[in-house]
Amino acid sequence: MKRIYMDNNATTAVRPEVMEAMLPFYKEHFGNPSSVHWAGRETGAALEAAREKVAKLINCAPAEVVFTSCGSEGDNLAIKGVADAYRDRGNHIITTAVEHPAVLNSCKYLEKHGFEVTYLPVDGHGMLDVSSLEAAITDKTILISVMWANNETGTLFPIEKIGAVARKHKICFHTDAVQAIGRVPVDVDAAQVDLLAISGHKIGAPKGVGALYVRKGVRLTPLVHGGHQERNRRAGTHNLPGIVGLGVACELADADLRNTAQRLSAMRDRLEQGLLAAIPESQVNGHPTMRLPNTLNISFNYIEGEAVLLFLDMQGIAASSGSACMSDLEGQSHVIDAMGVDPMMANSAIRFGLGYDNTEADVDQVLEILPNIVKKLRDMSPFYHERDAAKATANS
């Protein structure tokens, strides 16, 4: 059985070029980049070279890049770090109802410590209304945190517009760009973003490394206190191989961003059209056009998403129902919920995240297999049968 991995929003395989670049830094060049001797100098240079590559992808100065261990840490550092550093100015934070748990749970933690948080709603496409964001600003607002792209639906937020509003009101603007980076162009300067979190393992770098962009002049209390690494913004011995890998992954992303985006969105669109055509009463969750090129979130009414995923899995196809870090939990996605999707539709939502390695043959295979799975599960579903019965009555 050919295995097809279509869960690249959860994590990606390390790209071969990335692996090759990292390998020398485990056993051969293993020095602590903070050490002053030969072993540290070798890796110190590699550290700064990687920083430059990350900076180039998002168009910032290398000194504005803080290496972290993952996207979640970046979000926590940005939100708690700004909250603590700007506490004298106010205690109000604005975010959205559809953020990743790393953002939402950082905000909930701050709510227990004297902060007030506004969670802005989204519309049926998962889209945010910038004027409602501006209306939510008070003279106590010290931080706006809005994700660049939603991880479950792929909906892209109007980051440049939000950046302009934040700048106008002189409020720090953090964006969780973990899903956006490497998939759509990201320019912190054009977008007037002050902080931006990325994660290596979503773009072909390994797990265990990420970065937070922190605009020069933005005050930030560290999350991890200790040594003087990262200009006192993040202590702990650098994950040198991981950082080197992140650098190369950013460089690769920079080089083929447009090509990859075009290729993946063409495949994604074919998958989407094929499924909608083959499976009646299905619907796409997310924005029709403002969407990540690789993401398809789709619902098949009357059945349950977990059962669909299980059947797909048994046929070698890896997809998911929302964020991996929530998947061991009961209950529906807070994102699909916030979009006001009908609960039964919401229950069947599954997410395909296409990636670098996917091929047209993969799409063919999903198109062949999935409609049968849906049919089988609908045949089992009492709701589906009652619906037929209801129709029959109506027609008689």
């Binding site: 349950e304 059962a307 579903s381 049968h385």
Partner: protein
């Protein structure tokens, strides 16, 4: 995450469907996840001759429904009433903790169907 037995019953669920003019029909909706199971019974001389089910739910719910049907076909009504949710889960080789509630649908819906049979044939 799931045992081989769960996967087997999920992949090839036994006794899916509907019994026309069933002797008893019952259903149960999970309060925790909204999933739903409907059970149809054919009863003769206090013996469950046939069971069919329809389930809207996760893999564990579907496998539990299937296992339940296998466990009670040919049994007396009393034996079927004695069947517990835990016994269904055990027969499946266990379920992951967050999925234990899913097996609750099966025995509960069965018991509703028996109650319905007993009420209509009282």
């Amino acid at each position: 995450m799931y045992s081989d037995k769960v996967i087997d019953h999920f992949t090839n669920p036994r006794n899916v469907g509907e019994i026309e003019n069933a002797d008893g029909v019952g259903e149960k909706v999970s309060s925790s996840c909204g999933d739903r199971m409907k059970v149809f019974l054919k009863v003769e001389n206090d013996i469950i001759e046939d069971v069919k089910f329809q389930t809207y739910g996760c893999g564990a719910a579907i496998a539990s429904s299937s296992m339940m049907s296998e466990l009670v076909i040919g049994k007396t009504l009393q034996q079927a009433l004695d069947l517990t949710n835990d016994q269904v889960a055990d027969a499946l080789g266990g379920l992951p903790a967050p999925k234990l509630h899913c097996s609750n649908l099966a025995a509960d819906a069965l018991h509703e169907a028996i109650k319905n049979y007993q009420e209509t044939n009282a």
